[in-house]
């Protein structure tokens, strides 16, 4: 009798049996990364606690709890992300285990990519579920660390510091193993450098944050997009983007439709489907369109009407009149967000950008600001401001609030909606002040200051460990 085998899966021994299968399995790790449980749920966890967005109405989706700081241990998105991130790490581990460090250059590249992917997943886990490194210098509980060849399928949480150390070790080794040739939808030497710069910045290791930002900037592989190219940053073909260091590629046939990240931010004009970036429509046409740019973000952006970054929001107007969401008091103006829409002309398609060159300048600026190198910090900020078409700052301009505040404000405008804002504030021990209309003010947890201010010490700055994981792994402790 013939052996009965599935048609859409292969035996696990075959899958890692030779170098061509290992290359295929590495593609598979990127595919695990591309899963909406990682990309979309992760986006909600990283961006929605920020102050650049406002939710216009109560939603049936658990994403509301990410936004409102009233998470529960059974939250959908934290559960999705945790599971998918560890699936990614486990998939990478199987490959890391079978490639020796003295393998061929091609194999070393694959090993490096898997080390990078593992480090990235673990870094995101620790910043979502573990308290900021700068609180207690990493002594708080982090997340479990999974190493290749480990047989413990239910490990306990390591400390935040231990996780950061593991992430650094992986990234350094990955950078060592990889070349510079891979397109920006895969990992390469500079991708590892870029993430090293961010990780060091989170650890307040400013010298190293500057060092690795510099390695990326000076590699010459990337350019800041200018003018119209910049304004169309997110609607082009991802691989052709000279500023992107690493993005999570979605092909035209991987459009997520109403389940896309962009669906929450933008709704095009209907009903004929001929929407474009410049023609937003009412909610429910091409997307839910219920998360808007916050009023304070729009006000900050409006300081310079010519700021090119206006291209990343789209006021919903009818006959030139800005529309307001009536469900909130006061009513909320509907400024859609377009960073996750219209890749290659498809309204809800996007390849979320994880690392881009502008961050290297502003990582370096933040690190220099903290080291007291004010002029160097301002110089990097001005590179970004010049590209945005707004006036340069001088040290005198920032004297009142300090250089760091200027850097953070520039980061806010530049990386809005890219999952950076909450970490920018909390790692610098700053509160999240959400003084604008939105459903976050409806039902706060007792420890958050009424209405708008979330202190960096608030328990809900980090998410609960998913209850199902605690149920299946008694060694996991819950966050308070």
């Amino acid at each position: 009798c013939k052996k009965v085998e599935p048609s859409t899966a292969i035996d696990e021994n075959v899958a890692l049996g030779d170098s061509s299968h290992i290359a295929t399995a590495t593609i598979g790790v990127y595919a695990v990364l591309r899963n909406p449980d990682y990309v979309r749920s992760g986006h909600f966890l990283m961006e929605y606690p920020g102050d650049n967005i406002a939710q216009g109405q109560a939603s049936s989706d658990d994403l509301s709890r990410c936004y409102r700081y009233n998470q529960i241990p059974t939250g959908t998105h934290a559960t999705n992300f945790w599971k998918q991130a560890y699936h990614l790490i486990a998939a990478a581990n199987k490959i890391i285990a079978v490639i020796p460090d003295n393998a061929s250059q091609a194999s070393k590249q694959l090993k490096g990519e898997n080390l990078y992917l593992r480090a990235m997943a673990e870094f995101n886990l620790v910043r979502i579920f573990g308290r900021p490194y700068t609180q207690g210098n990493g002594s708080n509980p982090g997340v479990p660390i999974l190493k290749e060849n480990s047989t413990d399928i239910a490990p306990a949480r390591s400390s935040v510091k231990e996780v950061y150390d593991a992430v650094l070790a992986d990234l350094l080794k990955a950078a060592d193993l990889m070349s510079s040739s891979n397109p920006n939808v895969y990992a390469s030497k500079e991708v590892a450098y870029a993430l090293l710069s961010r990780v060091y910045l989170y650890m307040n290791d400013n010298a190293n944050a500057i060092k690795y930002a510099g390695l990326v900037i000076n590699s010459g592989r990337y350019n800041l997009l200018q003018g119209g190219d910049y304004q169309n940053y997110f609607s082009g073909v991802p691989e052709n983007n000279k500023e992107t260091i690493f993005c999570i590629k979605h092909t035209k046939t991987q459009d997520q439709g109403f389940s896309a990240i962009g669906s929450m931010y933008y709704s095009g004009q209907g009903p004929d489907g001929t929407s474009s970036l410049t023609t937003p429509g009412g909610q429910g046409n091409t997307g839910w369109g219920e998360i808007y740019a916050s009023r304070t973000f729009v006000e900050d952006l409006n300081k310079y009407p010519n700021d090119l970054r206006h291209s990343f929001i789209a006021p919903y107007t009818i006959a030139g009149v800005l529309q307001y969401n009536q469900k909130l008091t006061p009513n909320t103006p509907m400024y859609y967000i377009t960073k996750y829409s219209f890749q290659e002309g498809i309204v809800t398609l996007s390849s979320p950008v994880y690392l881009r060159l502008a961050e290297m300048y502003l990582n370096r600026a933040e690190a220099n600001a903290k080291l007291g190198n004010s002029q160097q910090a301002i110089d990097d900020v001005n590179i970004i401001r010049a590209r945005a078409g707004i006036p340069n700052l001088t040290l005198a301009d920032v004297a009142a609030n300090g250089v760091l505040a200027a850097v953070l404000e520039e980061r806010r405008l530049e990386f809005a909606f890219e999952g950076q804002r909450a970490y920018d504030l909390f790692r610098n021990n700053l509160p999240m002040v959400r003084n604008y209309p939105g459903t976050h003010a409806l039902n706060n947890t007792p420890t958050t200051n009424i209405m708008q201010t979330v202190l960096p010490t608030d328990a809900r700055v980090v998410f609960f460990i998913p209850q199902t994981e605690i149920d299946n792994n008694p060694k996991l402790t819950q966050n308070p």
């Binding site: 052996k3 899966a9 292969i10 593609i27 595919a31 998939a91 590629k249 092909t251 459903t439 409806l442």
Partner: protein, 965 residues
């Protein structure tokens, strides 16, 4: 040679058509004609004729000198003489050692439906049928004697006309036999852990050709039970308590439920012909069934053709050829598409208008000031969008029975079943659903084939009072399935064909699925003088679904019974006309899991691709030891008949399943979501009672059938040291508990001080003592989940049928009941949400519910707050409700047209009737209907005991006529 003529009439004096007249001891027979007359040439010398006629006692007459015989037959009221199809053979009911229930085709078809499983509801003790939806294209699920599997299917094995699987239409069913204990299920033992349903289709009888026409037409309406949604005024008043609704909203008062539901029409028409000669008999039938769902645009249409042919090729060889084809078309089935009508019908706001001034449906996307959350008017989409599914299900049986010698016979039963399925779902560019992609079209096709051969050698002999039969069977089954799925976007308005698409939405997909089974079995069946019965069997079966270490399973079964009324000492007990004791014990198996559950796999499908390149990722953890789930069943049965009027069957049983197939959840740090394992043990114990009573047998007849079944389920053990199989789940499967015990935060009402929700919180002090406190923080409550003391399993279920007949009138009523289960009313998460969803409609609260308004209020409902009150609608015992109900499933009033009218019209029989289905349901459940899926498929297990956005069941009024020629 003598020619004998005669007339045969039934007890009412009506000519018996098709009665068989056999010359005693010889193979010489004749059949009565339409006037009940027959003619037979006697070949032997006894001069004794045996006259048999279905439903009447066989009668022997001695031919007198006149050579003319007139016989009036007596009705056979003794069900014990009925021949029951069990396992690989047929037996008289009185000779069985096992627990079986038989439902005749006529009893089955009182309710009008095209779904056999649904028709079984309440008809037999211990058979729990439940259906979550009133969609005519959706099925029902069935559970026999309680669930005893976790991740494997709990559905019984279906056997049609002697072979596993196959197809059938309810109109062609002669009888359904349900095998419940190990002795009965024995020969299917390897796959019979969940019981066996044996469907026997109708066969022709030698004699005159009979033509029957049955026609039913009627109306169906949705039933909403105790559930009511708010109208505009009610919703406005409610919302005023927590936000400031614009009074202008009151200008509309749309009843979306009314717009979504309609009076549907059900039609069921069958024409059949049967008959044949001594050598060859046939039954052919055609059936057309159409049921319009009560949800607009939803309908099921089915065409069925069956042809059963049996012919004796010689004295020794009998050939049977059975063919069945069913073509089904589902319009807008809810599993494929509802155009959001079902969901939106419940949740849309009465403030939003359904129609524009010109009568066209409004478009929620562009209508100014639309308040409904989803910006959608389903009526707008339904103008252009649709889905349909078509399937062609065909089976062909080719069976040969060969009598090698007087005592030894060989049979080969072979079947091919082919299934073709195609569906399409279309979203027009003008609608909300299709607008984003400028029109969308989804097509899928699948094909499956099941090949089965079953070869049987049988030895039968009697030695004085010793009767012995031996059976050896070798069987093989091979299943192959393939499917393709594609989609397109950018279609011009109103062009729902793939060729008009300008691009694809996602890449085409598809694959192949296969499995094999191989089985060998032996059975010995012995009885002494028709008084003592013994049966024993052994089965060995291989399945490709299990791990390389343990793909085969061995099973054995044994049973014994004793007919006490055949003993001399019982002859004087006149009140007891029949008494039998039965006992059986044996093992059965379950292999109903996915086809590749034991393998360690890397997925290579599209989910593994990145940037257009094919990839692979670990998708399933290996378990080479995965093997058959096994169940040990003990059954003790008592059958007795009193005064020739009352028949009672009582069974007690214990089923203990072990090595349960379980999709064990793993922590994500394992790299997998789950692994398939054999774990633990679950026990079901129960009592089943079935009573048939002929209360009145005079001119006015009254017969009652009552059945009731009690089942208790308990998880005995799990993996070493584990207390729950699915920790954290609402039905966690915990040692010492019913598998269906609810486990969740316990609702503690509303805080009188501030109107916040309260749940119980378990606090452990320094000494380890646990005390119960209350909290209004849901994360604390969810860390304090508890067993609620209630279960999704009913305490008992059953049905009661009363049939009355007087002269030509007959009336039957059938109730079914479910008692003692709790249902999680998930819809209240949306309809009773304390302000969380201010753009969804809400339910009208029950009179006994009170809303907190000011400090000091003792209320059942928390204070309503825009954006919700502290997760008050998150999972907790707040929404657990009593799921008991008593339902009048059917009432049928019939009138048999007098024979005197019909004779002149050459009509054999004619009956007209009116029938009502689901007329009344008595329940306290606050949702649309308390009936929920009690045994969903493993893929759907999360829906067990949960009621959510239910497609209501239909109340049907039907008019029918049966005419026979």
């Amino acid at each position: 040679q003598t020619v004998v003529t005669g007339t045969v009439k039934d007890n009412k004096g009506v000519p018996a058509i098709g009665a068989t007249i056999t010359e005693k001891g010889l193979k010489n027979s004749a059949v009565t004609d339409v006037n009940g007359k027959f003619k037979i040439n006697l070949k032997g010398k006894s001069g004794v004729l045996t006259i048999s006629y279905i439903g009447y006692k066989a009668q022997e007459v001695t031919v007198g000198a006149s050579g003319d015989v007139s016989v009036t037959l007596a009705e056979d009221l003794n069900k014990l003489n009925e021949v029951i199809v069990v396992g690989y053979s047929s037996k008289q009911a009185s000779q069985l050692s096992s627990s079986v229930s038989v439902i005749s085709g006529n009893k089955l078809r009182d309710v009008t439906s095209n779904n056999l499983v649904g028709l079984l509801q309440g008809k037999a003790p211990g058979v729990v049928v439940s259906s979550a939806s009133g969609d005519p294209s959706s099925g029902a699920s069935i559970l026999i004697r309680g669930a005893s599997s976790i991740s494997a299917s709990t559905s019984p094995l279906v056997v049609v006309d002697g072979n596993i699987g196959g197809t059938y239409n309810p109109t062609d069913v002669e009888s359904v036999t349900i095998l419940k204990d190990a002795a009965a299920t024995g020969l299917y033992g390897s796959r019979a852990a969940n019981g066996v349903i044996i469907v026997t289709t109708k066969m022709g009888k030698s004699g005159l050709t009979k033509i029957d026409i049955n026609s039913v037409v009627g109306f169906n309406n949705a039933t909403f039970g105790n559930f009511h949604l708010m109208n505009s005024q009610q919703l406005y008043e409610y919302q005023k308590t927590f936000l400031n609704p614009d009074p202008s909203l009151l200008k509309n008062n749309t009843n979306w439920l009314d717009l979504a539901f309609r009076t549907g029409i059900t039609q069921n028409h069958t024409i059949s012909a049967s008959g044949g000669s001594d050598k060859t008999q046939f039954y052919v039938s055609g059936n057309y069934y159409k049921e319009q769902g009560t949800l607009i645009d939803n309908a099921k249409t089915a065409y069925n053709l069956r042809s059963n042919l049996v012919t004796n090729l010689s004295d020794k060889i009998k050939l049977s050829v059975l063919l069945n084809t069913i073509y089904t078309k589902d319009n807008n089935p809810t599993n494929l598409f509802t155009g959001n009508a079902l969901y939106d019908a419940y949740l849309s706001m009465p403030f939003d208008p359904a129609y524009n001034a010109d009568g066209t449906p409004t478009d929620g996307r562009t209508y100014p000031g639309w308040v409904g959350r989803d910006k959608e008017n389903f009526l707008h989409g339904l103008q252009y969008n649709f889905a349909n599914a078509k399937s062609l299900n065909t089976s062909g049986d080719f069976n040969i029975d060969y009598a090698i010698t007087k005592h030894l016979s060989f049979a080969t039963y072979n079947r091919v079943t082919l299934y073709n399925y195609r569906d399409e779902t279309y979203y027009d560019t003008r609608t909300k659903d299709g607008g984003a992609n400028s029109g969308e079209l989804y097509n899928s096709n699948s094909f499956s084939s099941t090949l089965l051969t079953s070869n049987r050698l049988k030895y039968d002999n009697s030695f004085g009072n010793h009767n012995l039969s031996l059976l050896v069977v070798g069987e093989g089954q091979k299943f192959h399935y393939e499917d393709q799925y594609l989609n397109g976007k950018g279609l011009p308005a109103g062009s729902p064909v793939m060729s008009t698409a300008t691009d694809i939405i996602s890449n085409p997909s598809g694959g192949v699925d296969e499995y094999n089974f191989r089985k060998y079995l032996g059975q010995a069946d012995y009885n002494f003088a028709g008084k003592y019965f013994l049966v024993g069997s052994y089965v060995h079966e291989y399945s490709s679904r299990f791990g390389s270490n343990n793909p085969s399973g061995n099973f054995y079964q044994g049973g014994a019974s004793w007919i006490l009324t055949k003993e001399d000492f019982m002859q004087n007990v006149k009140a007891i006309n029949f008494l039998k004791l039965r006992v059986s014990y044996g093992t059965t198996g379950n292999a109903e899991i996915g086809n590749y559950a034991a393998l360690g796999l890397y997925s290579i499908d599209q989910s593994a691709s990145y940037n257009g390149a094919p990839g692979s990722y670990p998708s399933q953890k290996v378990n080479p030891n995965l093997t058959w789930e096994k169940m040990k069943t003990a059954n003790l049965g008592l059958d007795f008949g009193l005064f020739n009027r009352i028949d009672v069957n009582i069974d007690v049983y214990q089923k203990t399943s072990s090595a349960l197939l379980f999709k064990k959840p793993l922590p994500a740090t394992s790299g997998y979501n789950y692994v398939f394992e054999n774990i633990g043990s679950v026990r079901n114990r129960g009592l089943e009672i079935n009573v048939n009573s002929r209360n009145l047998i005079g001119a006015f007849k009254w017969e009652t059938n009552f059945n009731i079944a009690f089942n208790r389920n308990k998880v005995l053990s799990l993996d070493a040291g584990e207390l729950t199989a699915s920790p954290g789940a609402s039905l966690p499967i915990a040692v010492g508990h019913d598998m269906n015990d609810w486990y969740m935060p316990i609702w503690a009402g509303v805080d009188p001080a501030n109107g916040k929700p309260l749940w119980q919180k378990l606090v452990t002090d320094a000494n380890g003592n646990v005390t119960k406190q209350v909290t209004s923080v849901y994360s604390e409550a969810s860390a304090s989940k508890q067993f609620t003391g209630s279960s999704a399993s009913p305490k008992f279920t059953g049905g009661i049928t009363n049939t009355f007949a007087y002269k030509n009138f007959s009336l039957s009523t059938f109730f079914n009941f479910v008692y003692g289960n709790q249902v999680y009313n998930d819809s209240r998460v949306y309809f009773d949400n304390d302000g969380l969803y201010d753009s969804y409609n809400v339910m009208v609260p029950l009179k006994s519910w009170t809303r907190w308004q000011k400090p000091g209020d003792i209320a059942t409902e928390p204070k309503a707050i825009q954006g919700g009150n502290n997760n008050s609608n998150a999972t907790s015992s707040r929404y657990l409700e009593n799921g008991s109900y008593l339902r009048l499933r059917n009432v049928t009033l019939g009138y048999q047209l007098p024979q005197s009218w019909l004779n002149s019209l050459k009509i054999r029989t004619a009956r007209i009737f009116v029938s009502g289905d689901n007329l009344v349901t008595f329940t306290k459940f606050t949702g649309v209907d308390p009936e929920v899926d009690l045994s969903p498929s493993p893929d759907n297990i999360g829906n067990k005991g949960i009621s959510s956005f239910k497609y209501p069941i239909s109340r049907k009024i039907l008019f029918g006529v049966n005419v026979g020629f």
